[in-house]
């Protein structure tokens, strides 16, 4: 298996964007190509992650991107895995470089939905659930994670104020990220007093609907060394699955696909959770970050909430969780999110993260799932 490296990375700002889905995909891709210092003609193929292209009147995005990059003869493939699309596209690209099929690829994730309004975006997202049992019965995504939050509050020593602390922390990190959607300092009271979306989750427990695009250039180690410049090595890659509907899970406060993907990634890297210096995890809602940090092995079951209470996951504490601001503050353009996490890790491990730099970090992890964690991918990266 070839060693696989990330050679360049770029993102648009996340938020409400005016440009079309094709344009923002291209902008992020150009930023990644420039960051890598390569010629677009070095790229052998593209992996595109996107869920609701139809909402901006553009599916089959790959050929549009390749034409804009002046490489219309190169193949491309679109991948959909709900909110986990980005990490799945990254995984497929990783596998193709590792297998030696291609020596240089681009992975570009994108979403453009904010123009459809809150009710329709909520509706579209509900199509990612097991619709017969969940979406059809009026379950929104905040509602599904709220059901997990209610179970967590019932099972463990946790309060709604503890969940609020996750949002406060991630907003603090996002303040240091110029690309973040919500650059705003908030307090626990702000979270507690925000409107209830799906009890017990309030507006500030929820990530925003965002537009945005992120892109990375992935290549073999041989290609990276030949081109010079900064790169990071991908040392672990794992995927996993869970029952599509929450009702099918043995425990509603854990996400099986995370545990399966994490074990595969740790095993490939030959390390454990204790070796991770920082992680970008899928905090679509505050409860999700708590569950993620337990399922990834950073804390024991039921102890993730204690870690939040004791500030052990703040920037440059025991383990920096979501130094970018996470989905909560950086934003969640769902097709872009999993790729955007890799952009953050690349920036962190190549000294480009500015004021939010995790000190002395050598190993970073990305964790990104689809829907309520029905699908998941985990990747581990090491500085070179």
């Amino acid at each position: 298996m070839e060693k696989v490296c990330v050679l360049g990375a770029g993102s648009t700002k996340y938020g409400k964007l005016a440009d079309s889905i094709g344009d923002i995909t291209t902008q992020a891709s150009v930023a990644a190509i420039d960051s890598a210092g390569i010629d677009p003609k070095d790229i052998k193929a593209a992996y595109i992650s996107n869920v609701f292209g139809v909402a901006d009147k553009q599916v089959h995005l790959g050929p549009v991107l390749m034409s804009n990059l002046g490489i219309s003869d190169k193949p491309s493939l679109s991948i959909e895995s709900a909110c986990g699309s980005g990490s799945v596209a990254f995984r497929e690209a990783f596998a193709n470089v590792a297998a030696g099929f291609y020596d240089c690829l681009i992975v570009s994730g994108v979403e453009k939905v904010t123009h459809t309004g809150t009710d329709w975006t909520t509706t579209y997202f509900a199509y990612c659930s097991d619709f017969f049992y969940e979406g059809q019965a009026g379950a929104s995504f905040p509602g599904l994670f709220a059901s997990m939050a209610r179970a967590y509050l019932t099972e463990f020593d946790a309060t709604e104020e503890d969940f609020a602390k996750v949002a406060v922390k991630n907003h603090q990190n996002g303040l240091l990220n110029p690309k973040a959607h919500l650059q705003k300092s908030i307090t626990i009271d702000d979270v507690m007093n925000s409107a209830v979306v799906a009890s017990p989750l309030k507006l500030y427990d929820c990530c925003p609907f965002s537009d945005g695009a992120s892109s990375v250039v992935l290549c073999s180690e041989k290609f990276a060394k030949a081109h010079g410049g900064d790169y990071v090595e991908v040392i672990g890659s794992g995927r996993g699955g869970s029952p599509a509907a929450l009702q099918g899970r043995e425990h509603m406060t854990t996400i099986p696909s995370t545990k399966i993907a994490a074990k595969a990634a740790y095993d490939m890297a030959g390390i454990t959770a204790r070796d991770i210096d920082f992680a970008e995890v899928h905090d679509c809602f505050t409860i999700a970050e708590v569950v993620d940090t337990e399922d990834l092995g950073f804390f024991a079951k039921g102890q993730g909430i204690q870690a939040i209470r004791e500030d052990r996951t703040k920037l440059n504490s025991d383990i920096s969780i979501n130094p970018s601001g996470g989905l909560k503050s950086k934003g969640h353009p769902i097709g872009a999110t999993g790729v955007g996490q890799v952009v953050e890790v690349f920036d962190q491990l190549t000294g480009k993260a500015g004021a939010r730099t995790v000190k002395d970090a050598k190993i970073g992890l990305t964790h990104n799932f689809g829907a309520t964690g029905a699908s998941c991918a985990v990747h581990i990266f090491q500085s070179v």
């Binding site: 979406g135 929104s140 009702q247």
Partner: protein, 121 residues
């Protein structure tokens, strides 16, 4: 009648059509075609009473399109009595968490454009 149609007809009568593995006995909802535990394709129908207790729930105030007129309402996950199975559904008339402590007894009563309808027992 398709399996899905049979499932819905049972729900309308407050019952749950399940598939019981003929090899290992594990119960599945009727949309499953291979046993999660042993991989067997042999199933026999088993019709259960749609009665149990609330495993978890949420009260939704920001609704997907089509559900605005029902807010606030609950999306609930019901643990069916004496089985390993849970089933989700729509519950009206719930406005605060005090209305629906986890463990509240509930039952399936109908199926309509809101999917499986569950009521407090």
């Amino acid at each position: 009648m398709s399996v899905k149609e049979q499932f819905i007809e049972n729900v309308k009568e407050g019952k749950v059509l399940t598939h019981k593995c003929t090899s290992c006995g594990l119960l599945h909802l009727s949309n499953v075609y291979y046993c999660e535990k042993c991989g067997s394709k042999g199933f026999e129908d088993s019709i259960l009473a749609g009665v149990g207790s609330i495993a978890t729930y949420t009260i939704i105030t920001v609704a997907p399109a089509g559900f605005e007129k029902y807010t606030p309402y609950a999306f609930v996950i019901l643990q069916l009595d004496d089985t390993n199975l849970r089933i989700s559904g729509f519950m009206s008339g719930i406005t605060t968490p005090a209305d629906l402590p986890v463990g509240t007894r509930a039952k399936i009563v109908d199926f309509d454009e809101r999917g499986i309808i569950i009521e407090k027992q």
